[in-house]
C-alpha cells in the first residue's frame, strides 16, 4: 500500500502543479528571485575571497641579513622559518641578486649607481622574503626571528633587521580590514538568505491558504495528515526544482557577459570559467536549496490547516 500511496501522492502533486498553473508560475517566479539571490551570494563570496587573497598575497615581511653572513647560515634560518606552520613560503634572495635588483631599480639614477661603483664591494646583504598564510601571523614570525638571531655563526647576530615593525601598522590595519570584510560579508549573506527564506515561505503559505478549504474537505473524507500534506510538499519541491534550473540557466549567459569585466576589475578572476568549472557545486547548492525550501515551506504551511 505504501508504494500505491507514494505513486498517488507524486501524481497528485504533479497534476496539482499543472492545474494550478497561475499559482505555480507565481511561486516559481518568487522562488527564482530567492535562488538568484542565493546564487549571487555565492558569486559575491567568490569575488570577495579572491580579492582578499590578492590583497593578502601583497603583504610580506623581509628579513635582511648582514653583508658578511654565510649563505649556509641564511639557508639554515630559511629552513627553520619554512618549518613554521603559519608560513606559506620563503624566498631567498642572495646579496648578488639584491645588488642586481637594486641596480635595476635605480638604473636611471646615475648618482646612486656611481656611488655604488666607488664602494667597490657589495654593500647589500641577502634577504629572505617571508609570506604568511594569514596577515595576523606576521607578528609571531617576527618574534620567532628575534630569537633565531641568537643562533648565528659566532654568537653575533647575522640578521640585520626584520621590516615587520616598520610595516606593523599597515599590516595590522589590513588584517582588520580583511576581518571586517569577511564578517560583514557573512552578515550580509545571512541576512539576505533569511529574507529570501521568509519571502519564499510567505509565498507558499499564500498558495496553501488558497487551498485551505480543499484541505478541510480532505480531512472530512478521512484522509490522513500525511496523505493530505504530501502532494503539497511534492508541488513545493517542484516549484524549487524548476526555479533552480531556470536560475542555473540564467547564470550561464550572465557570467559570460560579466567575464571581461570580472577579469579586468578583479585582477584575473574569470567568473564564467569559475561557474562552468564549479557547475556541479552550484547545481547541488541551488537545486538543493530550492527543493528543500519549497518542500519545508509547504510542509510547515499545510500543518496549520490540519488542526481540525
Amino acid at each position: 500500500m505504501f508504494w500505491v500511496n507514494f505513486k498517488r501522492v507524486i501524481r497528485s502533486g504533479f497534476v496539482s502543479f499543472w492545474r494550478n498553473s497561475f499559482v505555480s508560475l507565481s511561486s516559481v517566479l518568487v522562488m527564482l528571485v530567492t535562488l538568484f539571490v542565493i546564487g549571487s551570494i555565492l558569486f559575491t563570496d567568490v569575488v570577495l575571497n579572491y580579492t582578499l587573497d590578492q590583497v593578502k598575497d601583497k603583504v610580506d615581511v623581509n628579513v635582511y641579513f648582514i653583508t658578511g653572513a654565510n649563505e649556509s647560515d641564511i639557508l639554515s634560518v630559511k629552513k627553520s622559518i619554512e618549518g613554521l606552520p603559519e608560513v606559506k613560503n620563503v624566498d631567498y634572495i642572495s646579496s648578488d641578486e639584491s645588488l642586481k635588483e637594486f641596480r635595476d631599480k635605480h638604473q636611471n639614477d646615475q648618482l646612486t649607481l656611481q656611488a655604488l661603483d666607488e664602494l667597490g664591494t657589495n654593500p647589500l646583504g641577502a634577504v629572505l622574503n617571508v609570506k604568511a598564510k594569514d596577515p595576523t601571523q606576521y607578528e609571531g614570525i617576527a618574534k620567532f626571528l628575534e630569537n633565531k638571531s641568537l643562533l648565528s655563526d659566532n654568537g653575533a647576530s647575522i640578521i640585520d633587521r626584520v621590516n615587520y615593525y616598520q610595516n606593523k601598522v599597515a599590516i595590522d590595519r589590513l588584517s582588520e580590514i580583511i576581518d571586517s570584510s569577511q564578517t560583514l560579508g557573512l552578515l550580509i549573506t545571512i541576512i539576505l538568505i533569511i529574507i529570501s527564506i521568509i519571502i519564499t515561505f510567505n509565498t507558499i503559505r499564500l498558495v496553501i491558504f488558497v487551498s485551505r478549504e480543499e484541505i478541510s474537505v480532505m480531512r472530512l473524507v478521512g484522509a490522513s495528515n500525511l496523505y493530505i500534506r504530501s502532494p503539497f510538499v511534492v508541488s513545493g519541491v517542484m516549484y524549487g526544482l524548476i526555479s533552480a534550473i531556470i536560475c542555473l540557466i540564467i547564470f550561464y549567459p550572465l557570467t559570460y557577459w560579466l567575464r571581461d569585466i570580472s577579469v579586468s576589475f578583479f585582477g584575473g578572476l574569470d567568473l564564467f570559467n569559475y561557474y562552468v568549472g564549479h557547475l556541479g557545486q552550484f547545481f547541488m547548492i541551488i537545486v538543493g536549496s530550492g527543493a528543500i525550501l519549497g518542500g519545508i515551506s509547504s510542509y510547515l504551511a499545510v500543518r496549520r490547516y490540519l488542526k481540525i
Binding site: M1, V4, N5, R8, V15, S16, R19, N20, E213, E214, S216, V217, M218, R219, L220, V221, G222, A223, S224, N225, Y227, I308
Partner: protein, 226 residues
C-alpha cells in the same frame, strides 16, 4: 448508533450554540433536523464530525466518545460517515471522477476498486456522462450529486447532509431528496439538516426541531413546526 448526551456548546455568555442537547439516532433511521438559521443545526453536525468539541456533554458513535478518539481513529470514523454540504465542498482542481476517487484513496482502497466503483456510483446519481468534468463545469444540482456520490462511495454507516438543498432550485432539490431517500432505503442512516418545509413534508420521517440551541420538538413523522 449515535447518541448525544447533554451536549452544550457555549462560545461566550451571549453566544450559546447548543444547550444540553440529548437524542439518539438508530441504525437505518432517517432523521431531519430543522430550525431557523443560528438554531444550532450546523454546530450539532460539527460535533458529530469532531470538527468542534462540546463545552459539556458527550457525543457517542456506536458507544465510542468521538471526542476521545486519537487522530488515526478519527480518520477511520470520518470514513464511516459520508458528508454532504450546502456549498458542495468539492475539490476544485479535480474532476468529478477524481473527487470521488480521492475519498476512496483516503480510505485505502485499491486502484482496481476505484476504477470499478467510481463510474458505478456516478451512474447511480445520473452523472455517468460528466465523469471528467471539473466542478466549475457543473451546475449546482450536478455538483451536489457528485458530493452525494463521494459521500456514499465508501458505503458509510451514516450520511450527514447539512442543508444539501440550500443552493438548489426546486427540481434539483427534489432529485437530491429522492437520492437521500434511496440511500436510506438501502440501509444507510441519514441525518439531514434543513429549513425547507417542502422537503420535510415530502419525506414523512422523524423530525427534530431546534430553537436557540435547544430541542423543542422530536416528532416521529415529519412535521415542520416553527
Amino acid at each position: 448508533m449515535i447518541h448525544f448526551d447533554k451536549v452544550s456548546k457555549i462560545y461566550s455568555e451571549d453566544s450559546v450554540a447548543l444547550k444540553e442537547i440529548s437524542f439518539s439516532v438508530a441504525p437505518k433511521e432517517f432523521v431531519s433536523i430543522v430550525g431557523h438559521s443560528g438554531a444550532g443545526k450546523t454546530t450539532l453536525i460539527k460535533m458529530l464530525l469532531a470538527e468542534e468539541r462540546p463545552t459539556d456533554g458527550f457525543v457517542f458513535f456506536e458507544s465510542v466518545n468521538v471526542h476521545k478518539l486519537k487522530k488515526g481513529e478519527m480518520n477511520n470514523l470520518r470514513r464511516r460517515i459520508g458528508t454532504v454540504f450546502q456549498d458542495f465542498r468539492l475539490l476544485p482542481n479535480k474532476t468529478a471522477y477524481e473527487n470521488i476517487a480521492f475519498a476512496m484513496e483516503a480510505a485505502g482502497r485499491t486502484d482496481e476498486e476505484i476504477s470499478a466503483d467510481v463510474p458505478h456510483v456516478l451512474e447511480l446519481v445520473d452523472l455517468g456522462n460528466k465523469m471528467w468534468s471539473f466542478p466549475h463545469e457543473l451546475s449546482g444540482g450536478e455538483k451536489q450529486r457528485v458530493a452525494i456520490a463521494r459521500a456514499i462511495v465508501n458505503q458509510p454507516d451514516v450520511v450527514i447532509a447539512d442543508e444539501p438543498t440550500g443552493n438548489l432550485d426546486p427540481l434539483n432539490t427534489r432529485d437530491v431528496v429522492q437520492i437521500l431517500k434511496k440511500i436510506n432505503d438501502l440501509g444507510t442512516t441519514v441525518i439531514l439538516t434543513t429549513h425547507n418545509k417542502g422537503v420535510i413534508d415530502s419525506l414523512g420521517k422523524r423530525v427534530i426541531t431546534l430553537d436557540h440551541g435547544k430541542i423543542v420538538r422530536d416528532d416521529k413523522e415529519g412535521k415542520y413546526v416553527l
